[in-house]
């Protein structure tokens, strides 16, 4: 017990809880809500509200509308081409080769438009997932200094490896299984519609949903493990602080009780710093993911609507390609949300577990 108390005191004295450490995290850039990580920390320290709800709604609306407008022109070309093809196909052709060639040329152009949109969104998705995992990996050491200062060294030591391992595993799972499956499914859906006789659309769907199942299963297991460990760790925290207080008041003859009070004050201050850094991290992850997800959701909406409208007059194969594109984009959105939610859960578990609770 004495050893633990001495260790805690050494950690408390030697841990440099430097306020400017978090400035390093500004390299992750500005979220589209208009703040960096250090802005979030500063405004929380000052007690200002960094994000105002009445300013957010117009921004969300603006982003959704601008993304719809950008994609509307691409979709209008798809519309025009499918309409042209529909008009062309209504006249009876004895020359079947011509009809097939016309369909294939139009189909290849539509595929090109869809593929370039898919490429942009998949790159956005991959970079978002990588950035979120990297951000978590960078924020945890900074959070660690604050947690160690608030008598949570034991919690941090037992929880942070799990969180780092699982978050990296999640990111790698999405990168090495999820995204390739999405690419494969996208390719299959394009090839499957080339011929009216052989359809690979359902195979594409199966591959996509299997990848989604694997990733969401991993995220669920991760959240469960982290939450259970967090629950068991919070008592460790209180025990460490209590033992430190007991040792100091017992071992130091005259100033013991005074020092106990100051330990409480330092630990309480470190809790505030830790909570601010952690909450700023959660806020940063949330807002850096929110706007891209809204962008992708509006693209999905556009493709779903256009698929439904083209279905009324156009070729079934074009409708099926647009539908599959919407499905593939939904899978990418699912991956982004799964990754960011697991990062937010791990940060909040770390914060919750390292709170002093009844120790003070």
């Amino acid at each position: 017990m004495k050893k633990a108390a001495v260790l805690f005191l050494i950690i408390l004295i030697t841990t440099p809880v430097r306020a400017d450490d978090y400035n390093k995290l500004d390299s992750f850039g500005i979220t589209e809500a208009g703040f960096t990580f250090s802005d979030a920390v500063n405004s929380m320290t000052d007690g200002h509200q960094i994000v105002k709800a009445n300013e957010m709604w117009p921004k969300i609306y603006e982003i959704a509308v601008s993304e719809i407008n950008t994609n509307l022109s691409a979709v209008s070309v798809i519309f025009a081409l499918s309409f042209l093809l529909a008009v062309f196909s209504t006249s009876r052709h004895r020359f079947k080769g011509g009809e097939n060639a016309a369909f294939l040329s139009v189909y290849m152009i539509i595929t090109g438009i869809i593929t370039s949109a898919f490429g942009e969104i998949s790159k956005l998705g991959i970079s978002l997932i990588q950035n979120t995992v990297l951000f978590l990996n960078s924020v945890i050491p900074i959070l660690g200094t604050a947690i160690a200062g608030s008598a949570g060294a034991g919690v941090f030591a037992s929880l942070s490896p799990q969180i780092l391992i699982f978050s990296s595993l999640c990111g790698n799972l999405i990168k090495s299984i999820g995204m390739p499956a999405v690419y494969f499914s996208f390719g299959l859906s394009l090839i499957g519609n080339l011929s009216p006789h052989y359809s690979t659309a359902s195979l594409a769907k199966v591959i996509r949903s299997t990848a989604l199942w694997i990733v969401s299963g991993a995220v669920t297991i991760f959240s469960a493990v982290v939450s259970v460990s967090g629950m068991s760790c919070s008592s460790l925290n209180a025990a460490a602080l209590k033992s430190a207080k007991f040792a100091v008041s017992g071992l130091v003859p005259v100033l013991g009780s005074l020092m106990t009070d100051s330990i409480e004050a330092v630990a309480g201050g470190a809790v505030v710093i830790k909570n601010i850094i952690g909450s700023a991290g959660i806020l940063f992850i949330f807002f850096s993911v929110l706007f891209p997800v809204i962008k992708i959701a509006s693209v999905i909406f556009i493709y779903k609507i256009s698929s439904a409208l083209i279905g009324t007059f156009g070729d079934k194969r074009i409708t099926s390609v647009l539908d599959n594109m919407a499905g593939v984009l939904s899978a990418i959105t699912g991956f982004i949300i799964a990754c960011s939610v697991s990062c937010i859960i791990s940060l909040s578990v770390l914060l919750g577990a390292s709170n002093l609770g009844g120790a003070l």
Partner: protein, 128 residues
Amino acid sequence: MDIFKIVVFALPSCLLCILLRQYRPDYSFAVSIVSGIIILLYALPALSNVFKSIDSFVRKANVNTVYIKTAVKIMGLSYITQFSSEMCRDAGENALASCIEVCGKIIMLALSLPIAEALFKLTEGIIP
């Protein structure tokens, strides 16, 4: 309306063809070819309006207009191939008709290859 012009021109030429077929079948064939070409030419101004509006969409969407033009060319080529091969069949030249069809297919293949090439390049570009 353009369709009335087309009908006013097409019906008398049809009558002329029927009349001529009894006395000079070769003349009847020539009349049918010429009137067919003139009727197709009537559609060109209306078609150019359609293409102008498609062109404006395409420019907004940053899609290369060459590919859209190629697709439209393939559709046009298909119509022309069908028209000429059926003319040949009407004249009893089945071999010539199938030659025209094969030729049309080869030209369509040649036209559509650049689109396929561009698609392959694009696909190559998106793979991380």
